[in-house]
């Protein structure tokens, strides 16, 4: 048997993805309705944002366009969790019904196999919307464009995504212990709404919580400081790629530990 490296998993993922897209297109009505739904959700989010900030041109030293930048940043960084890890939402159903066991019989990584099953195409709308917002605010702020800043942007977007994925993995994996993880996941998802605000507007208690307990501040705030406030970047921002990888790794371990423990109790 050949070794199963990254290339192997990437190839498998692409094949599953291609098949999945093909079959999704065959549910045309569902596809169109969910796309429209996604567009409206994004517009509604944007409008409420706009109404709020029309009355406050500046918050704690953050201008309207900088806030918009944060907003776009959080949208883009939430895309991977939406697209690639959406099956986390079904985990509790599989665990509850005992169907989860069917994932344990393949000679590939359990976590990969489980997550590969669903690709949520709706995330792409959010991605497009986020990119649009980013470019628009980028221009308005006048950040300029160099390869270095683009590189920073990509690194920190990936960082932010990893953290969001980690949060959702960990939240979903709680179902291996408590069976119904919906409320935990819902709570985690609600927290992400705080990601789009600069953490300095919160009280110190919440600042601490959003940095170390529910690390939502890493989803947009700390990473985007590198772009928006290049002269005054806190150490936490530079550390955030490290945190991203660490959180992701820990959440993966937690998920796998839960899965092993769960199948260990029989069903």
């Amino acid at each position: 048997m050949k070794r199963k490296g990254l290339g192997f998993y990437l190839r498998i993922y692409c094949k599953i993805l291609a098949q999945d897209l093909k079959s999704k297109m065959s549910y045309r009505a569902d596809f169109i309705i969910s796309t429209i739904g996604m567009i409206f959700t994004n517009i509604a989010g944007f409008v409420s944002f706009w109404i709020l900030f029309r009355s406050f041109p500046e918050i704690n030293g953050w201008s309207y366009y900088e806030m918009l930048f944060l907003y776009g940043f959080s949208l883009v960084s939430l895309t991977p969790v939406q697209c690639f890890f959406d099956n986390n939402w079904s985990l509790r159903m599989y665990v509850y019904s005992g169907d989860f066991i069917k994932y344990c019989f393949r000679p590939i990584n359990l976590f990969f196999y489980y997550q590969s099953e669903v690709f949520d195409i709706k995330g792409l709308g959010q991605f497009a919307f986020g990119i649009g917002t980013l470019i628009y605010s980028w221009n308005k702020i006048g950040l300029g464009f160099t390869p270095l800043i683009l590189l920073k942007m990509i690194v920190f977007l990936i960082t932010a995504s990893l953290i969001m994925i980690a949060v959702m993995n960990a939240a979903a994996a709680t179902c291996f212990w408590i069976t119904n993880s919906f409320y935990v996941m819902d709570l985690a998802l609600k927290f992400k709404d705080y990601a789009r605000y600069p953490i300095t507007i919160f009280s110190p208690v919440f600042r601490f919580i959003f940095t170390f307990v529910m690390p939502v501040a890493f989803i947009a705030y700390y990473p985007s400081l590198v772009i928006l406030r290049p002269d005054d970047v806190p150490i936490l921002s530079w550390l955030s790629p490290l945190f991203g990888c660490l959180f992701f790794y820990l959440s993966y371990k937690f998920w796998m530990f839960g899965a092993m423990r769960y199948s260990g109790t029989g069903s």
Binding site: M1, D20, K24, D99, F105, P107
Partner: protein, 335 residues
Amino acid sequence: MSNIIEIKNVTKEFKVLNRREGLKGSLKDLFSRDYKTIRAVDNISMTIAQGEIVGYLGPNGAGKSTTIKMMTGVLEPTFGQITVNGNLPYKDRTRNAQEIGVVFGQRSQLWWSLPLIESFKLLKDIYQIPDEGYSSMIKLYKSLVDIEPLLHKPVRQMSLGQRTLSDILAAFLHNPKIVFLDEPTIGLDVSMKNKIRTLIHALNKEKNTTVILTTHDMGDVDALCQRIVIIDKGKMLYDNDIEHLKGFFGSYRTLKIRPDGDIKDHSDAMKNELAGRSVSVTSDDEWISILVNEDKTKVMDVLNVIQKSREIRDMKLEEISTEEVIRKIYEEGVK
């Protein structure tokens, strides 16, 4: 023949919370650490050779699935050791998975929205099946069953029978050394059951695949298994040839009676009339069955007794069926 599976003194224990009754009990349970240990599998040993078909039987909750989960590497034995194909399944779950196929009767492992052929192609990549192996397997499938209409149908649109068939084909696709089938014919119609039995038999012959089959359908056992293993309450009751098993009960025959009038009443009355003789009386909608131990009681005597007080419309005499043998073992054990 070499042994592909070796199970040595395997025990599996689960810790279960002692649950209390009622709302108050549930509240107490929230904080309770009061666990009890349940032995799902209790000191089981067996070896299985390459190419065997083994019927693994037992009443519901006997520990069959637990044993299978240990052999597939999903569960770790509490005590004892299992080797499958030279691997320790729990330690090398993925390596073990490469060499086994698993079908759980009602839980399809195929991609729900994909046509079967696409699932096959994905499995080909996942199991890294070489091209020749894959195409010869597909060719073999085509010679055994009519899969053409299934190949391009999404799994979600299939009937239960078609889905089970597909799952079995998928489990054999990477030419595994062992295939575990957990109640493969559950809920299927007679003709589909027959199709699936023929398929399993043919694949076992053709590829010398070891098949471990759990079922409650004695038709499966009669059609497929030379050897059966019976467990109950986690303990092994029997492990031998199926013929040998029938020999145990060779002197048993079943007398089937259809009397005039209500079958239930007659059957209750007969139980009284025949008390003291070594017989057991059961009834269904059509027949009253009397299992007679001919070493102790003559069938003619039984017939004499029961026709004294009633008209018999119809009767027949049957050799003991596997089903009844198994039932007797569940109820009384092997003596």
